[in-house]
């Protein structure tokens, strides 16, 4: 066992997704090397959910990854890894405790609302509250931030960061902050890889709840077919654009996290010397390509330049194709786990 080294520089490595990037960077900084894909997979990050009763900017929530915090929660269960996590009621207290940790040289992970972060490009500043970043220092009243989806470290004024930590609305972070207390010097990843796969198989293949997993994809496909009738051409195009944004926005690595998970399976195959996982990785890449194919079609419709054949029925069919591909992969993986 060893404690997190006491220094103020932070190892920033750019990632495709915020939570897995933060988790991997924090663990690597603590001395236990983790790639982003490995953190994403062991954390059981892959998911699908179509949750029309949660609204983002007035649109139904479609998510391709698990709820904010799940990756960290699962990684925190690894024996020897201790993650301290806190939420706050009061802004001042939340910022004071952050400063205290920074003064001790502890890099701190935060959940924030993107809308309030001035270093984000304007076009990406929507009210989206499940963004993760690491604060590793403070200088002249500005916080020094390692935001995993940015190429290099950035800065943010204290007032803006405080607003971002206490963003309101869906998925409000309520000042959530977390840091590593300790990490093991070495780790046998094998059993954790299996558990990570098992967790994703469960949610994707059936929880009895029809809005999530493969069932959720098919439900979305069915609803999508009826959008033009129900919402009108314009409303349907807006909803469609929203689905693509959730799938392809920075932080998904493209293909709605499917490529990232494929990278995880591939890395696991090497770690465990198992060729079967490599095949699954290839099928999941295919699923990701299939999602991207849907995005291309959808973007043409959103731009009002559909080609012949770009109908809502065809797009729904494309989503069903993704569902079938993923159903096969996860069924095979479930079988494989039983051996």
């Amino acid at each position: 066992m060893k404690y997190i080294p006491d220094n103020t520089s932070f190892f920033h490595s750019q990632s495709a997704h915020c939570e897995s990037g933060v988790a991997a960077n924090l663990l690597s900084h603590g001395g236990l090397h983790f790639s982003e894909a490995m953190a994403f997979g062991i954390g059981g990050g892959l998911f699908f959910g179509y949750l029309p009763f949660i609204r983002l900017n007035g649109m139904p929530l479609v998510t391709y990854r698990s709820a904010a915090g799940k990756i960290l929660k699962r990684l925190g269960r690894i024996p020897g890894v201790e993650i301290e996590q806190k939420r706050y009621r009061h802004r001042q207290r939340a910022m004071a405790e952050l400063d205290e940790l920074l003064a001790r040289g502890v890099p701190v992970g935060l959940q924030t609302g993107v809308f309030w972060l001035p270093y984000f490009p304007t076009a990406l500043r929507f009210h989206f509250n499940a963004h993760n970043l690491v604060v590793y220092g403070k200088e002249d009243g500005d916080y020094l931030i390692s935001d995993p989806v940015f190429p290099g470290p950035v800065r943010c004024a204290a007032d803006d960061l405080a607003r971002a930590r206490f963003a309101s609305g869906a998925l409000a972070p309520r000042g959530k902050m977390y840091y590593l207390r300790r990490v093991p010097a070495e780790l046998d990843r094998g059993p954790h890889i299996l558990q990570g796969i098992d967790s994703v198989c469960r949610t994707m293949l059936g929880t009895g709840f029809p809005l999530i997993g493969i069932q959720g994809m098919r439900l979305l496909a069915g609803r999508m077919e009826r959008w033009p009738k129900k919402l009108g051409e314009q409303g349907a195009a807006l909803h469609l654009g929203h689905v693509v944004r959730m799938q392809e926005e920075i932080g998904t690595g493209g293909g709605g996290f499917r490529f990232m998970y494929a990278a995880y399976l591939q890395e696991s195959a090497e770690e465990m010397g198992d060729g079967f996982l490599r095949n699954c990785s290839a099928t999941l890449t295919e699923a990701g390509d299939s999602w991207r194919h849907f995005a291309v079609m959808a973007a043409r419709v959103c731009k009002d330049r559909p080609r012949p054949g770009d109908t809502y029925a065809a797009m729904a069919e494309q989503i069903r194709r993704c569902a079938l591909l993923e159903e096969n992969v996860f069924k095979q993986l479930r079988q494989w786990l039983k051996q």
Binding site: F259, A262, A299
Partner: protein, 143 residues
């Protein structure tokens, strides 16, 4: 006052360098640097066009005396009454009332300042209906 203004530059998300997982010829996923994918530009632009439409419609309502200037600031910052109420610590029916000119004109100093501080504008600007750009298009350049 109702000068036409575009808050977004279509290329504004284009200069962000991102990384994503892309399979090479042998099917190996590699983390690869790149820029934001074209279809994403299209759907982002679509979302912003929609926001700009809402802002325009809000300006018209204010000019016609149907809504108070607060309505513009709320819409321009992509909020609804419930969200604004949560941020300013009030009940949402109060915010709904303040969106109407009749009640807005009668707002006390304290409430006005509360709103103005939240939108980072001066209480005078808010009260007199100078429609300042939303929070996100005023950011200072940080390195």
């Amino acid at each position: 006052m109702t000068r036409q203004q575009n808050f977004t530059d279509p290329k504004i998300d284009g200069d962000l360098k991102t990384v994503s997982y892309i399979a090479d010829d042998s099917g190996r996923q590699e983390m690869t640097p790149g820029a934001i994918w074209d279809p994403v530009h299209i759907v982002n632009e679509q979302a912003w066009r929609e926001i700009e439409k809402q802002i325009e419609s809000s300006r018209r309502k204010i000019a016609a005396g149907k809504r108070s200037p607060l309505h513009y600031h709320m819409i321009a910052n992509q909020m609804n009454a419930a969200l604004l109420a949560r941020y300013t610590g009030q009940s949402s029916w109060r915010v709904h009332l303040h969106l109407l000119p009749f009640f807005f004109r009668r707002l006390g100093r304290k409430t006005l300042t509360n709103y103005a501080d939240f939108f980072k504008i001066s209480a005078e600007d808010l009260q007199s209906g100078r429609l300042k750009p939303p929070l996100y298009s005023r950011h200072e350049i940080h390195s």
